[in-house]
């Protein structure tokens, strides 16, 4: 199945977007968690402070569905 990760900032350089400026398509097996997906891309969980499907906040244990557009938010640089 295909899911889409939307990323900005430091995550863009790591994820290597291919759909548009912000978006990377990922082929993955059903049942894998978001944590597993991003780790397979070479990201550490420390690079992802929050994740969203639409406006809904999800955890890294979330199991994506086909066609999901998931926004990954890196940590703020101090607030």
């Amino acid at each position: 199945m295909t899911i889409f990760l939307k990323v900005g900032g430091m995550l863009k350089e790591r994820v290597k977007t291919d759909v548009d400026e912000w978006t990377r398509s990922v082929e993955t097996e059903p049942g894998r968690t978001l944590r597993q997906v991003i780790e397979e891309l070479g990201l550490k969980t420390v690079h992802v402070a929050m994740a969203f499907v639409g406006e809904r906040l999800i955890s890294l244990s979330y199991v994506p569905h086909d066609g999901d557009v998931i926004t990954l938010r890196p940590p703020v640089q101090g607030g």
Binding site: G8, M10, K44, T45, V46, A49, M50, R73, P74, G78
Partner: protein, 639 residues
């Protein structure tokens, strides 16, 4: 007429009441740019080295920078500075909102207050009409009460900054409040304002800031607005603010808990961004000219307490007044946030110093008798409120804490000095450096004492290894140049840090504002380097040396391992700290004693600093070749 600037400076002698409004020199503006750079230069040149920070000879400097009030990425800030009563060195703190732009519209780029008013006053600036007015009716009011009353008296279109009773009573970590809950929080600048019996500044400006190429500036800013509106980081930021990082910080072993005893707070889910949004949020709140609109305006009702409205909580308050003090509901954290804002103390130092006192009470180093019969328990709103009241009114041991927690620790004794999380008297920000060694180095070397504003390194520490000590100092130096640049030009660095507006785009905007076609990022970074060394020289001239002796945190951070949570086992040693400092001083062109060398000062055009340090025997000896470029940008990762 200087393009991009208001064009004038104002000198206020509070002792005599004399006011002098004169044109701002363009060469000065180009050389020092504004914001914290103006402050550093003026403090160095004008404040005697033995001046009491709360005495007659200190200066209070207020300055919006070149970007404030102009149509550019979040040009909203205003910088306040003085010799800090916490560190006895350069101090500056920046507030967002609307005050800085309003000063620019009134034609002003720089206010310098000297002396002490014979009775409480506030400064009124109504375009070119400038007066010192009696502040008796406002004296004693909280920061937001004073702001409200002044707006009622003067008009809603006035922008106000005000101190609360903490500043009036010279509490060393007092802040300056603005716009219903924003602060110039750090370094105790509110106490300096109070020492001058200056309650508030009220400004209304109806003029325009001359812009070199308004059309091009507008076009480039509109392009940035359109681009960043679609940035994936924007929507989460707008919805949750920085509070959303409480969870992340816990999960990665850097969250200060129970006075930095450990780095994981089991109840963190009750105090992060989600409960804020779900339970207390009223609306978002924006600074002048900012479309990020990330401020949070909240309504809090706790049983037995008045219902209050507060801006926040942000991450720093959510950590230092959250798990660090044992508060486990967002309502408690928000109420504590409001309390600090109301009396006018920095929530970061307020939370950090209160947590230190809580641990002292837990260990029997402070007694109920010393607390006027009260306790000081983790997570008790009543205990916290009473303790803050003791400090604000300088009762009993509140008098010790009023001078800063480092001083209080010395008075308490019994090993208390090991426990207070600070460097150079400034309380640490909401990240425990044992889980992030470069972050601890950032605290150790920041010119204003421990503050993440100068350099934030958490993800870099993760990337290079949380136990890796070597190889990080150059990046800390780079961050100490690029991040304070935004405080120099007075815009919010979050556009650079979070939604990919580059430093080069900020430089381009400044060129369009000013017409300085040859202005470069390299020039801006050299200015940051110059200011850094100027502030170091100033600190040494005031405090003696060697500089290295002041660059260590309290012993907890090099003697204790983190005992629990995801960061369990993390620890640093004194040897680790020394390795980091040696690398840092080499990267800076300083001696191993932490004193700037003649060579670096000459390179930066600070020969007068070198001469002053030499007279005092405080020049450092280079122990490695002077780096041609100081600082190393960390690529391709964060920043």
């Amino acid at each position: 007429m200087i393009k991009g600037f208001g064009g004038n400076q104002l000198r206020i002698d509070l002792t005599t009441g004399e006011l002098a409004r004169t044109p701002l020199d363009e060469r000065f503006a180009r050389e020092w740019l504004g914001g914290r750079s103006f402050i550093a230069k003026i403090l160095y040149d004008e404040v005697p080295r033995d001046a009491d920070p709360l005495g007659f000879e200190n200066r209070l400097v207020v300055t919006p920078g070149v970007m404030s009030g102009n149509f550019a990425p979040s040009g909203s800030k205003c910088c306040f500075g003085a010799v800090s009563p916490l560190s006895n060195g350069h101090g500056d703190s920046t507030v967002g909102g609307h005050f800085g732009p309003e000063l620019k519209f009134a034609g002003l780029d720089l206010l310098v207050f000297s002396g002490i008013a014979p009775k409480p006053v506030y400064l009124l600036i109504d375009d070119a009409k400038i007066e010192l007015r009696d502040a008796a009716k406002y004296w004693g009011l909280g920061t937001m009460e004073a702001e409200q009353m002044l707006k009622e008296d003067l008009g809603e279109d006035f922008e106000i900054v005000a101190i609360g009773p903490a500043g009036e009573n010279l509490i060393a970590f007092s802040c300056i409040g603005h716009d219903w809950g924003r602060q110039a929080g750090r370094c105790g600048i509110g106490a300096v304002m109070g020492s001058k019996r200056l309650k508030a500044i009220a400004v209304r400006g109806t003029g325009k800031v001359p812009i070199h190429d308004l059309k091009a500036l507008r076009d480039s800013t509109m392009a940035i607005i359109k681009r960043t509106a679609k940035h994936p980081n924007m929507a989460p930021w707008q919805k949750y603010g920085t509070a959303m990082f409480v969870g992340w910080s816990n999960q990665h072993g850097v969250y200060p808990t129970h006075n930095f005893q450990t780095t994981y707070f089991e109840d963190y889910a009750g105090i992060d961004g989600q409960p804020l949004v779900d339970r207390i949020l009223v609306s978002n709140k924006a600074c002048f000219g900012c479309w990020m609109n990330c401020g949070k305006y909240s309504k809090v009702s706790l049983p037995g307490k008045p219902t209050v409205f507060v801006e926040g909580p942000e991450y720093e308050t959510g950590s230092l007044c959250g798990g660090n003090c044992g508060f486990n509901t967002i309502e408690q954290v928000a109420y504590v946030n409001w309390l600090c804002d109301h009396v006018g103390i920095d929530t970061m130092s307020g939370g950090g110093f209160a947590a230190f006192a809580m641990e002292c009470y837990e260990k029997g180093l402070i007694t109920r008798e010393q607390l006027e019969g009260h306790e000081l328990r983790w997570g008790s709103i009543d205990d916290f409120e009473h303790f803050i009241d003791m400090i604000v009114h300088r009762r009993g041991i509140g008098e010790w804490f009023a001078r800063g927690a480092k001083y209080a620790a010395e008075q308490i004794g019994g090993g208390a000095e090991r426990l207070v999380a600070q460097v150079k008297g400034q309380g640490m920000s909401g990240y425990d450096g044992r889980g992030a060694p470069a972050m601890l180095l950032s605290y150790m070397t920041a010119d204003i004492g421990a503050h993440h504003n100068r350099a934030w390194t958490i993800t870099m520490d993760e990337d290079l290894g949380k136990t890796v000590i070597k190889g990080k100092a150059k990046v800390v130096v780079y961050l100490q140049h690029i991040r304070p640049f935004f405080d120099t030009v007075s815009c919010c660095r979050l556009f650079w840090g979070e939604v990919d507006v580059t430093a080069e785009e900020h430089i381009d905007a400044i060129k369009l504002m000013t017409g300085w076609s040859d202005f470069t990022l390299e020039e801006a970074m050299r200015l940051s380097d110059r200011i850094w060394n100027l502030n170091r020289a100033h600190y040494l001239e005031r405090n003696g040396g060697p500089g290295r002796s002041f660059d260590y945190p309290n012993a907890r951070f090099y003697e204790e391992a983190v005992p629990s949570g995801p960061g369990k086992g993390a620890r640093l040693t004194m040897a680790d700290l020394d390795v980091m400092l040696d690398e840092y001083y080499e990267a800076r062109g300083w001696g191993k004693d932490g004193n700037p060398s003649r060579e670096i000062l000459a390179d930066l055009g600070l020969a007068d600093c070198a001469a002053n340090l030499q007279k005092r025997g405080l020049l450092g000896e280079l122990f490695a070749p002077l780096p041609a470029v100081r600082g190393e940008r960390y690529k391709p990762k964060a920043f």
